[in-house]
Symmetry: C2
């Protein structure tokens, strides 16, 4: 995986260098219509094509482009945003229709498309696959917005005969959508999405499918955990059948690993006396959640702790937080500490190092007892 050597997209998001003047977006669902909106905002003339004219009309009315056909010789880039099973045909047709254009698709699985194109007599130099890591619980053009891709990873998967100019054109589309372009090998990409997207989707489907065996009475006890785990299982089965079928080998390999982990989990739960395996699997889960990068991949900041003695009369904490808010300081975290010898409790407020001294002064001025950190 390589970061593309491009200018910082944040520096000039609305006028990236080299953005094509005329684009065609084929397929105006959520992704296609959102790309149309972003490219239009960036100054590109976007022509919208969809076999459902009403979808193209909705996308146009949201500012994604125009529904008129372009002069094919003018088109510099084509973005194919149709369902996975239709991608090879539509890309092949676009390469032949728009003879000067770079063609990209935004499908979730890349190897099958490339293999299918490779077998045809199409000018494959002008094709460069890509995959924006963005979506929404809603689908269709109504949910489209130009900001859908802002700060998201958008993978570009060139092949060995991709023209450099075409790779750069696709990168300029990504940058115009305010996404972060990342170049990956086709097979590496497909293996990665099997792990971080297709496998979690199927775990959600397994759990949700199992609910068909659960009574309505029992489901009254459902909480947020169940809703979170099963949310993605509500997605379009037709679309997901196409995605999963296109990446079947990689997905099956991940499922087989989970199958072994499930067997070991069952063994740990059934063990008498209780084995250490259950605790180990639970802790492994916690470690796993921490590996998921934050939305912007930001590193945690080193905060400073301001420690305050806790009074226990009602309303005291509300007053403390009012004091903090009046001082204009953001509390990043709060923890409770206890001094066993003094039998007194403390609140440790984590704040950015620059604001710590000001906060201490404000708290002390309000009559609170600021302690040094108990463990200092």
């Amino acid at each position: 995986m390589t970061d593309l050597d491009l200018d910082d997209p944040a520096a000039s998001p609305f006028a990236p260098d080299g953005l094509p003047g005329v684009a065609v977006v084929i397929g105006t669902g959520l992704i296609g219509a959102s790309i149309g909106c972003a490219l239009t905002e960036a100054g590109c003339r976007v022509h919208l094509r969809d076999h459902k004219l009403s979808h193209a009309q909705v996308a146009a009315s949201l500012g994604a482009g125009v529904t008129e056909a372009p002069r094919s010789a003018d088109v510099e880039v084509v973005v194919v945003a149709v369902p996975p099973a239709a991608i090879p045909d539509v890309v092949g047709h676009a390469l032949q229709t728009y003879r000067a254009a770079t063609v990209t698709d935004v499908g979730s699985v890349k190897a099958g498309v490339l293999d299918a194109l490779w077998d045809r007599h199409v000018p494959i130099e002008r094709y460069v696959g890509s995959h924006p890591m963005a979506g929404s619980q809603r689908s269709g053009p109504m949910a489209a917005n130009a900001g859908l891709f802002a700060d998201r990873t958008w993978v570009i998967t060139p092949h060995r005969r991709s023209a450099t100019a075409s790779i750069e054109t696709v990168a300029s589309v990504v940058t115009a959508c305010r996404a972060r372009p990342v170049v990956m090998d086709v097979d590496d990409h497909d293996a990665a999405v099997a792990r971080v997207s297709h496998l979690p989707h199927l775990m959600s489907v397994l759990m949700a499918g199992h609910l068909n065996t659960v009574s309505a009475e029992d489901l009254l006890l459902a909480g947020q955990g169940l809703r979170d785990v099963t949310r993605v299982a509500a997605s379009d089965p037709e679309l997901w059948e196409q995605i999963l079928s296109a990446n079947a080998a990689a997905v099956a390999s991940e499922l087989r690993t989970v199958q072994a982990e499930l067997a070991s989990l069952i063994g740990a739960i059934e063990a008498r006396p209780a084995s250490r395996g259950l605790r180990a699997q639970l802790e492994r889960g916690v470690t796993g959640t921490r590996k998921i990068p934050g939305k912007h991949g930001a590193q945690p900041v080193d905060y400073r702790q301001v420690v305050v003695e806790i009074p226990d009369h009602p309303g005291a904490l509300a007053q403390l937080f009012a004091t903090v808010e009046a001082a204009g300081v953001n509390i990043e975290d709060v923890s409770i500490e206890h001094d066993q010898v003094l039998q007194v409790g403390y609140l440790a407020l984590s704040v950015s190092p620059q604001r710590a001294d000001g906060l201490v002064a404000a708290i002390a001025a309000s009559g609170w007892r600021v302690a040094s950190h108990p463990s200092d």
Copy 2:
């Protein structure tokens, strides 16, 4: 499962009949401190006990009660909100210390506690288990609030020797917390939470644990789906080890069913040519998500559709929605329809039946073309 025949809690949430005057809450984490806040708001004097005095102090400063010890003879109800493994000892001790009090616990698994108490010489008539279906991603007293249980299910699990007066006392606590009391048999409750809480937790743990084998580069491609599926796996492993161990047989039985479903899913994905099994499992997942009741268990309303012809110039839809908003009408759903003969698209706006005529008038007055439903 039986709904308790109680007055509508919404009618007088702050003064439920028969609410005890003096309560003890033992364990002032999120749940205990929130119960303390709700009971205090309802007019009860609440004494907070915690082996971490600092937690009781924080809870007190948030309005959950006082940290002074009560006169034991005055105490009418004791709520035990300690970690699962400690519940039997603490309940048993409370039954002997507070000789006039009903004692309940709020643990997630009920059979083990009851069995342990049954073996001891304690006045078990005054014990009635319960389980509020509420929580938060945050833990500890800092996150406590009196509204945590509002409109949530709170299961009450009496046993065959529970005194009627004690069952009513626990129900009054539930009602004072603005939760919906539901009575269940102990074993039925434990089987239900195995299905709707413990199993989804472990599916999340399996997926999160698997991320330890995934590279940081691949994790850059993670989206919201992965975050949702793995969120609950970040919960406290020590707490969950206790919960799952206490319900091991029921949980293992659910896991074995999922194990069979996973094997069939792997078979469907690996089948060549593609089997219909994959699509069937994906559709079964969608059906399963629809079985989860809404937050308030509300039935879907029959909406009426107002159908508008879509103009495709930029900004048109924004104008339409501004017109709708000015008319004060809530749009419940929007779908796109297409007339193949006329080659024109329509938006179908779902609104409550009473508002439909007003909306049609407002839209037509603004110059939009309102169509009858294309399928009429």
